[in-house]
C-alpha cells in the first residue's frame, strides 16, 4: 500500500471549519494532509462532521473564511466542484435516470470535450474494468443496487480525476454485497494508485480499506492513524469505544497490583491510586476458577458459530465481555475465571 504513494495528488486541508447558516457548527477548525495515492477513511457516527469534510474537499461546501483546501500546490478553495476535477461516488449514487449506463459513464468525458473515439474507448475500458459490459444499454432503473454502485464508480473514475471521493458508497447495500464490493473497491483503489477519501460509519469498512483512518466525533478529529494504531492504541475513550468492543476494569493500584471487584491484575510500573484499564474481548481468555486473575459469573451467552461471546458479571464494576471458541459450552450463572493478556492492556 505504501508503494502507490506519490503517484496521486496530495490534499491539504488547512484550518477548515464549517458553520451552517442556522448557526450549527458542523466542523471545528481542522487541518489534515492526505498524501498522494493514499486512501484515507473518515470514520465516525452520523453528525460527526465526516461528510461535511468530504464535501469541503469536493467543493460542494465552502469552508468558513480562513479555511483552505489545496490539491498539490494549487489552492482550490475558491473553485467550485465542477472545476476541481474530482471523481465522486454518492451514497445514493446520483446516476442520471435520463441516461443509460453508457451515457452516464460518458457524461464527464463529453463535458471535457473528448473526441467521440476517445469517449467510446474510455467507456469501453471502464465497462471492462468494472465488468459491466452486459449492462451498457440498460437504464438506471433496470439496475440492482450493486450494479448501480459499479456504474457510479466507473462514471467517477472515467474522467481520470485527481482524487476520488466516496461518500458512504456501500451503505445502501445489503451486508453480503457490501463485503464483496468492499474487496473490489479495495483492489480498484490499489490498482489505480489514486488518492481516495472515503467516508463511512462502518468500522469494518474503514479498517479494511483505509491506509489511514480519521476518527471523528462532534465535528472534531479524535484520532488519525493506521487501522492498527486506531485499534490497538486508541488515543481516547471515544476512539476505544467506537472501534470494536472495549472492556473497562476499574480499581485501585497498590504496589503495581490492580485490585478490582473480581480479583487482581498485575500491572507494570503504575503509580498507586485509582485507575481504569481497557482491554479487548479477544485479549482475554476463560480460565479455571481459582487460578485466574479475575473471578466472575456468566450472565449472558451468545453463540456466534465460530466463537461464543460471554458476558461476565462480578469481575469488575461493569460487565466484562470475553470471546472464546465456539466449541465450548457455557451456561448462565456458571462461575468462570478470566485471564487478561497483560501486553494488551491499555491505560488512557
Amino acid at each position: 500500500m505504501v508503494d502507490s504513494r506519490g503517484r496521486g495528488t496530495s490534499i491539504r486541508i488547512r484550518e477548515c471549519a464549517k458553520t451552517f447558516p442556522d448557526g450549527t457548527r458542523a466542523l471545528e477548525p481542522m487541518s489534515l494532509e492526505i498524501h498522494g495515492g493514499e486512501t484515507v477513511v473518515f470514520l465516525g457516527p452520523s453528525g460527526c462532521g465526516k461528510t461535511t469534510t468530504l464535501r469541503i474537499i469536493a467543493g460542494l461546501e465552502s469552508p468558513d473564511s480562513g479555511g483552505q483546501v489545496w490539491f498539490d500546490d494549487e489552492d482550490v478553495t475558491a473553485l467550485p466542484i465542477e472545476h476541481r476535477n474530482v471523481g465522486m461516488v454518492f451514497q445514493s449514487y446520483a446516476l442520471f435516470p435520463n441516461m443509460n449506463v453508457e451515457e452516464n459513464i460518458a457524461y464527464g468525458l463529453k463535458i471535457r470535450k473528448f473526441s467521440r473515439g476517445e469517449v467510446s474507448s474510455r467507456v469501453e475500458e471502464m465497462l471492462d474494468m468494472m465488468q459491466i459490459h452486459e449492462l451498457r444499454h440498460r437504464t438506471i432503473n433496470q439496475l440492482s443496487g450493486g450494479q448501480r454502485q459499479r456504474v457510479a464508480l466507473a462514471r467517477a473514475i472515467a474522467v481520470q480525476p485527481k482524487v476520488l471521493l466516496l461518500d458512504e458508497p456501500l451503505t445502501a447495500l445489503d451486508a453480503l454485497l457490501r463485503e464483496r464490493l468492499r474487496v473490489d473497491i479495495d483492489r480498484l483503489l490499489r490498482d489505480l494508485g489514486i488518492t481516495a477519501v472515503y467516508v463511512t460509519h462502518d468500522q469494518a469498512e474503514a479498517m479494511s480499506l483505509g491506509d489511514r483512518i480519521v476518527v471523528m466525533s462532534h465535528g472534531r478529529v479524535a484520532q488519525v492513524g493506521t487501522p492498527r494504531q486506531i485499534y490497538f492504541e486508541p488515543r481516547d475513550p471515544f476512539v476505544a469505544d467506537f472501534i470494536g468492543t472495549m472492556n473497562r476494569l476499574s480499581g485501585v493500584v497498590e504496589n503495581g497490583v490492580l485490585t478490582a471487584r473480581g480479583g487482581s491484575v498485575e500491572l507494570d510500573e503504575h503509580p498507586d491510586g485509582p485507575i481504569e484499564i481497557l482491554f479487548r474481548p479477544e485479549s482475554a481468555t476463560i480460565g479455571n476458577t481459582g487460578n485466574s486473575m479475575l473471578q466472575g459469573r456468566v450472565s449472558g451467552v451468545f453463540f456466534l458459530g465460530d466463537r461464543t461471546r460471554l458476558i461476565i458479571e462480578e469481575a469488575g464494576e461493569e460487565p466484562v465481555i470475553v470471546e472464546t471458541a465456539g466449541s465450548r459450552e457455557f451456561e448462565t450463572g456458571q462461575r468462570v475465571g478470566v485471564d487478561i493478556d497483560r501486553d494488551a492492556i491499555l491505560v488512557l
Binding site: G59, E61, P80, I81
Partner: protein, 273 residues
C-alpha cells in the same frame, strides 16, 4: 456554491416575474385604484355593502357557494369513500365516468343543466309524465346550484379518493380490533383523517362557485350572482368603478377563503389549488 448560483437563478426566474408584475400585479393595482376613482371615490367599496342590489348579490352568491360546497362534499364523500374502499367489476369505468366532466368549462356545464332541467330537459319530461306539470328550474338560482354541484363533484371526488388512498389501513384495523363498528370507524377514524382533504377541496369548490361566470351566463343573464352583477355593471351600465370595486371585493373573499383553508389544511391545498 450557493451564491455562485444566484445570478443564474435570477436569470431563470426573471422572465416570469416580469410577466406576472406587468400583466397581473400592475393591472390589479390599477383596478384597485380605478375602483376608488369613480364619482363616489372610495365610497364605491362602501356601496358594495350599502347598496341593497350589490349587497344582496354578494349575500346570495355567498349562500349559494356555501350550499354548493356542502352538497358537493357530502355527495363526494359518500361516493369517493365507497369507490376507494371497495373493489368490484366496473369500478374503473365508474371512476372514469365520474371524473369525465373534469375539463368541462362553465358554459358547457350550464348547457348540461339545460339538458337536465331546461325547457326541453329530462326532468321536465319526467315530471310531465308523472304529474302533468313540467318542472323547469334551469334558468334560476336552483339551476345554478345544480350546475355548480355538477362542476365540483369530479374534482372533489378525486381529492377525497387520493386522500383516502393514503390513509394507513392499520388505523382502521386498529379501530376495528378495539371493537368499533363500521359506522364508528368511519365517523371516528376515517372522516377525521380526511379533514384536510375536505377543507382543501371544499375551499376550492367555494372559491370557484363565488367567481364562476360561464354557467350563470349560459343559464340566464338575470341571475343575481356577483360575477353577473360585475359583468352587468361593466358592460351595460359602463360603471367601471363599481365593477372594479365589486371585483376587488370578490377577489379578496376568494383569496381569503383559499388562504385560510391552506393554513388549516396544511400543504394539501397548495397541492390542490
Amino acid at each position: 456554491m450557493k451564491d455562485r448560483e444566484l445570478p443564474s437563478l435570477v436569470v431563470l426566474v426573471l422572465p416570469v416575474v416580469v410577466v406576472a408584475l406587468a400583466f397581473f400585479l400592475l393591472p390589479l393595482v390599477r383596478l384597485t385604484m380605478i375602483a376608488g376613482s369613480g364619482e363616489d371615490g372610495l365610497g364605491a367599496y362602501l356601496a358594495v355593502v350599502t347598496t341593497p342590489r350589490y349587497f344582496e348579490s354578494l349575500l346570495a352568491t355567498t349562500l349559494l357557494s356555501a350550499g354548493v360546497t356542502f352538497a358537493t362534499l357530502a355527495i363526494s364523500a359518500v361516493s369517493g369513500l365507497f369507490l376507494e374502499r371497495n373493489r368490484f367489476p366496473g369500478r374503473n369505468l365508474l371512476i372514469s365516468l365520474l371524473t369525465f366532466p373534469l375539463a368541462f368549462p362553465g358554459v358547457v356545464v350550464g348547457f348540461m343543466v339545460i339538458m337536465l332541467a331546461g325547457r326541453q330537459g329530462l326532468i321536465g319530461d319526467i315530471t310531465k309524465f308523472l304529474t302533468g306539470d313540467k318542472l323547469v328550474f334551469a334558468y334560476s338560482m336552483a339551476g345554478l346550484f345544480v350546475g355548480y354541484v355538477y362542476f365540483s363533484i369530479p374534482r372533489v371526488i378525486l381529492t377525497i379518493m387520493a386522500a383516502a388512498e393514503k390513509l394507513d389501513p392499520a388505523l382502521e384495523e386498529a379501530a376495528r380490533s378495539l371493537g368499533a363498528s363500521p359506522w364508528r370507524v368511519t365517523r371516528d377514524v376515517i372522516l377525521p383523517a380526511l379533514k384536510p382533504a375536505f377543507i382543501a377541496s371544499g375551499a376550492i369548490a367555494f372559491a370557484t362557485a363565488m367567481g364562476a361566470f360561464g354557467t350563470a351566463f349560459t343559464l340566464a343573464t338575470n341571475i343575481d350572482v356577483l360575477p353577473m352583477t360585475i359583468y352587468t355593471e361593466f358592460t351595460l351600465r359602463a360603471n367601471i368603478a363599481m365593477a372594479a370595486a365589486l371585483s376587488i371585493v370578490l377577489g379578496i373573499i376568494t383569496w381569503l377563503v383559499l388562504t385560510v383553508s391552506r393554513s388549516l389544511a396544511g400543504s394539501t391545498v397548495a397541492a390542490a389549488g
